[in-house]
Amino acid sequence: MRTLINVPKTAKKGEIVEIRAMVAHPMETGYRTGENGVPIPRQIIHRFTCSFAGREIFAADLFPAMSANPFLAFTTVATGSGTFTFTWTDDDGTTQSAAAEITVT
């Protein structure tokens, strides 16, 4: 799995925690040309979501201006122990996902 996720292992209830997620992806814009001027087709991740205990807590639409290997950081309030699920959706519909646990006391 080509993702790097940073979620604190533990947090206090009500604490604001920072979550960082990066995925390996070329984010090909569709505006470049390759050998002999042949256009390189667009291939980007256009949607990222993060869910906690089955409920979506963060989502982002991504566009061609995003760099390769997109890195997203956001915060959430630690409400209880559980699993964050991260999903990246490609233009062609394929998805990659990753998960990370948090223990809230």
């Binding site: 080509r2 790097l4 996720i5 940073n6 960082r20 990066m22 390996a24 070329p26 984010m27 760099s67 390769a68 290997n69 890195f71």
Partner: protein, 260 residues
Amino acid sequence: MAGRSLALAPLLAAVLATTVAVADTLEADRRSGYDLMSPELRAMQDDDLSNPGMFWVLDGERLWQEPAGAAGIACAGCHGDAQESMRGVAARYPAFDPALGRPQDLAGRISQCRTERQEAEPLARESDALLALSAFVAHQSRGLPIDPPGDPRLQPFRAKGAALYQTPIGQLDLACASCHDRNWGRRLGGSTIPQAHPTGYPLYRLEWQALGSLQRRLRNCMIGVRATPFDFGAPELIELELYLMSRAAGMAVETPAIRP
């Protein structure tokens, strides 16, 4: 990407023409490209979970464990735990290869194990697999001082690299030293000119949006002065690397570094 370097060319001719030998880089004044980067980029390099170069290191770790070739042996099958067997190796490359009768860089050495020991298809220079293996092996030396071998057989090659470093090349007629010894720390268009220490390779360059080798970097600089770059794997690039590594002796390995 070459386009960006070319666009800088007329500008830098003007900048450099006005500059005559400012003091050459002093030993005590050596700085890694890291020290010249913004705090944001340094933070990106320092945190393994925000450093995209780590994707290649992790890929390399997987490849290290995978049996390959007719021999069906993984790198790990012969070398075991890379944390032990590969510690410090990248810090002393390029090394003299008696069979070739000349120096070999780390990527070349890995390719050699791949074709001769694993009896597998060769990996192309700058392929993701070779970059990943090189990054994984070099990562085992992160934090260790660059330690060029004292092997006297390397000396003539290092001297050739040093001479090339001082030779003006390309339509702009600039030597590596014109920029990296006499104008480091100054700006060239949007970039700060570093001292050209090869401490972080292979590294993730934002302009490339990918990991790349030192040879790719050197070829970029050659294209930037409108010279015909040496081919990947060319002896001249390995000689330049030998010289750059001796110039950076004692500086810490940073692989995988980040650069703008």
